[in-house]
Symmetry: C2
Subunit: 137 residues, 2 copies
Amino acid sequence: MTSSATNQKWLDQVKWDEQGLVPAIAQETGTGKVLMMAWMNRQALALTVKEKHAVYWSRSRQKLWHKGEESGHVQLVQEIRLDCDNDVILLIVEQQGGIACHTGRHNCFYQRLENDHWQAVEPVLKEADQIYGKKHE
Amino acid sequence: MTSSATNQKWLDQVKWDEQGLVPAIAQETGTGKVLMMAWMNRQALALTVKEKHAVYWSRSRQKLWHKGEESGHVQLVQEIRLDCDNDVILLIVEQQGGIACHTGRHNCFYQRLENDHWQAVEPVLKEADQIYGKKHE
């Protein structure tokens, strides 16, 4: 990635926060399901556009995270939207493998508030050790 | 609002950030459209549950923000979800007036990336001065 690739007006127009990040929501094309929310820095967004798959910034690992790099659950990006305040990104994606969540569920929002507790309401489609191998058990 | 109302286990389980906030995504029931993303603190989430309409924390105004309090564009909350990391909320809402965005558009994600520029692709359904009155012009 050359520096010129991240030196563009449309990237300047995004209001990066004090850590240089913005929230990025991934929504599945077709179903319309909200799959997950993660974070992007300038380079992650530029790479997402260039490579046409979702690239996030992992705050826990402090590195670029090509979604699906270990699991194969790549998100092919169809469309990129920016909100009215220029500080939230919405990706419309095709979710490879039909699994966005590291827990093996279709999406990350599987806990529903029911009478003052969070109830898991989405099935695990694939166990984590099958997705990532034994090292992640 | 009594202190006991915000002193609950399900609220403790949310991973509030260093400012005591989490991102909250509002998705419209029926259409499945992602309307907006805003922020909630503990009290905003407790009030959202209690009053069954979306209450956010306005970072710019540093106060609770009952969505629609000025515009009438209240979000009636049907369902509340929490993600796998317990740090992002998803609201399934009925958007009163069919307008979520302060610009008078259906939703806030009206800018689409097209050939290295952000293009507004959603119509203004109602002008801001009609929504908020002349003082907001």
